[in-house]
């Protein structure tokens, strides 16, 4: 279980770092303005569009990875243990 937590944490921090760097480059108005979640520029170049795509990919990766490793897999293990114990008792 601790391993699953560490994996989720690694996904969160690693993916979050990439997402934060890209967001600081492309979706930050200014220091006083909206940071990290401002709308992207109107006509970014090809490379900036690729980077924005990578930003969306990392966001999805972080969300799905955290949900998987912190909730789905532990829940699956708990359910498996529960059914194993129940079948052992029966």
């Amino acid at each position: 279980m601790a391993d699953e937590f560490a994996k989720g944490l690694a996904i969160l921090t690693g993916g979050g770092l990439v997402w934060m760097a890209i967001s600081a480059w492309l979706t930050t108005e200014s220091f006083e303005g909206t940071q990290l979640i401002a709308p992207p520029p109107e006509d970014p170049g090809t490379y900036a569009e690729l980077v924005l795509l990578l930003r969306d990919v990392t966001a999805g990766f972080v969300i799905i990875g955290v949900i998987t490793f912190w909730f789905l897999i532990p829940a699956f293990y708990e359910l498996r243990d529960y059914f194993d114990e129940r079948s052992a008792e029966a």
Partner: protein, 260 residues
């Protein structure tokens, strides 16, 4: 050491005191002198002698030549690990500094006072403690006067909070190592953490009342009620968990050492 040299310690060759010659054969050996000591000195001697002996036996019984040590050597094991961790954090710092350079604002204008004056965020709690004016009591004994000015009251509140935290290392904290084992004190801790947050929010009450639909009076009440609410919830949850925790603990213990 050759065999015809006088033996001073019960006939066993020893590296320490080998060259010391007793007065005559009747003089007590060093072992006998040590054994004759009384009380704590004797107890200490026996303890260390026994552990030394056990260590020696272990080494003698061991198959390993140089690896039967009680720890890992600093080089390479710990150095490599520390280098890896250091490199990781250095890399993270360099990456962040290069990819997300910090904002450097323009030079401060000494002729204009900023609208909002605040300390750094980690000192908000202390700043909030200076804003305890509503609970500085007006004493009827003094004809509705306050015993001390609001500024003095705030400084005194800082002293009280810092004093309470400073006392903690000198308290006997018992043998509990998990919050479930001491629900009450865990709840006190939760309340303290929440209070550190709410009092920090009170320090920036102007910004909060602009942001959220509440008056500064309601915020002030929340500042002191939220810690109690969180402590209450934490206490109930931990108290409920305690039974299951003790059950698990006992089950594990009895599995380890079944009762006769």
């Amino acid at each position: 050491m050759s065999n015809d040299e006088p033996k001073t310690d019960g006939g066993e060759p020893k590296t320490d005191g080998g060259g010391i010659v007793p007065q005559d054969d009747q003089a007590p050996t060093w072992s006998e002198r040590k054994e004759r000591t009384q009380g704590l000195a004797r107890l200490t001697y026996e303890y260390f002698e026994r552990s030394r002996r056990e260590d020696e036996d272990l080494r003698r019984a061991s198959d390993y030549v140089e690896r039967d040590v009680l720890a890992f050597p600093t080089w390479p094991h710990e150095m490599i690990r520390n280098l890896a961790i250091t490199s990781f954090f250095l890399g993270a710092m360099f990456f962040i500094a290069a990819a997300i350079p910090p904002h450097i604002p323009g030079p401060a204008d000494p002729n204009s006072t900023p609208a909002v004056i605040l300390p750094d965020w980690y000192l908000y709690w202390s700043f909030g403690l200076l804003k305890l004016t509503p609970i500085n009591p007006e004493l009827s004994l003094l004809g509705g006067q306050k015993l001390m000015s609001d500024r003095t009251y705030g400084v005194l509140a800082n002293l009280v909070v810092v004093g309470v935290i400073a006392i903690v290392p000198f308290l006997n904290k018992g043998s509990a190592r998990r919050p479930v084992e001491e629900p009450f004190w865990a709840a006190v801790g939760v309340g303290g953490v929440v209070f550190a947050f709410t009092i920090a929010v009170l320090a920036v009450q102007n910004l909060i009342t602009d942001l959220l639909p509440m008056t500064s009076g309601e915020l002030f009440i929340l500042t002191f009620m939220l810690p109690f609410a969180f402590a209450f919830v934490a206490y109930s949850v931990l108290k409920t968990m305690r039974e299951g925790y003790m059950f698990e603990l006992n089950r594990r213990y009895y599995r380890l050492r079944p009762p006769k």
